[in-house]
Amino acid sequence: MNLNDAQIERYSRHIILGNVGVEGQEKILAGKVLIIGTGGLGAPVALYLAAAGLGTIGLVDGDVVDLSNLQRQVIHFTPDVGRPKVLSAKDKIAAINPDVRVITYETRVAAANIAGIIKDYDFIVDGTDNFAAKFLINDACVLGGKPFSHGGILRFDGQTLTYVPGQACYRCVFTAPPPKGAVPTCSQAGILGAVAGMLGTIQAAEVLRFLIGKGELLVNRLLVFDALNMNFRTVKFARNPACPVCGERPSITTLVDAEPAVCDLKSRGRG
């Protein structure tokens, strides 16, 4: 791949970075990344990856833009209310950077479709808001040998880890979805919009560092932050021998749909 003059100018602040350079920028331009969920996390991920010149961005979301999304889902604008999120996001990506090829999947990930959707991508970003999807993405990526970034946010808090094949996975930390009622429901919980942006941009940086192959990814460690007091910490962990999907005696060998948590059922009715 040879960068043209416009690309050299557009990506000049990457190219002059010692750890990126022309070579790293070419890897970004050749990268294929799937973002599952174009909400609070997926929005900043998609914006930064588009600006960075990602070759192909896949977007998975079955929802339409709701007025209550605009407080944090910065890729969607007021006139987009009512439009499918993947189409709204695709328009913004095209406006930021016509170099990027966008593939949209106007659907939810489920056991039946996820393996087929992720198979053509180099890296997967979990930008979903529910545990059923988070565990499904983990299992599909572990079984399919795909690296992915987990992201979770709640109120003022965020957490993220990166999985690469052979290393610890999300289930090594969180064995199974929490039982109903153990975790606050979505409507009780709330989220400071900027916290979604903080976590999403960390996930975008993980994607870019994965593609250029520089630095230490959040592999075998979980980054947790509390933006109310602005404290960050990383918790190290190793592969869990008892992990149900990547452990010594895995009980999960095929994908199944988990029961949605109680908050998903409640919010589903609200449209």
Binding site: L41, G62, S68, I153, P178, C186
Partner: protein
């Protein structure tokens, strides 16, 4: 006894405590809400109440976090 809980100093008057008691005193209302490590090793939920902690042990607990968008994908 002095421990490190989530990177911070934690002191207790007792000489014997379990991981479950440490979580309780750290305002974890329900142990189902967290993943727990003792000195870098995960402790299964059903073992929290039987696992003792000792001087200078490090306990880390991490909350489940969903979030992102409004509905599931």
């Amino acid at each position: 006894m002095t421990l490190k809980v989530n990177g911070k100093v934690f002191t207790a008057a007792e000489a014997a405590l379990t991981v479950a008691e440490v979580l309780q005193r750290s305002s974890v209302a329900n142990p189902e809400m967290v993943a727990v490590q003792l000195n870098g090793e995960f402790v299964a939920k059903e073992k929290l109440a039987q696992t003792p902690v000792a001087q200078d042990d490090e306990v880390d607990f991490i909350y489940f976090m969903g979030g992102g968008a409004k509905r599931d994908i």
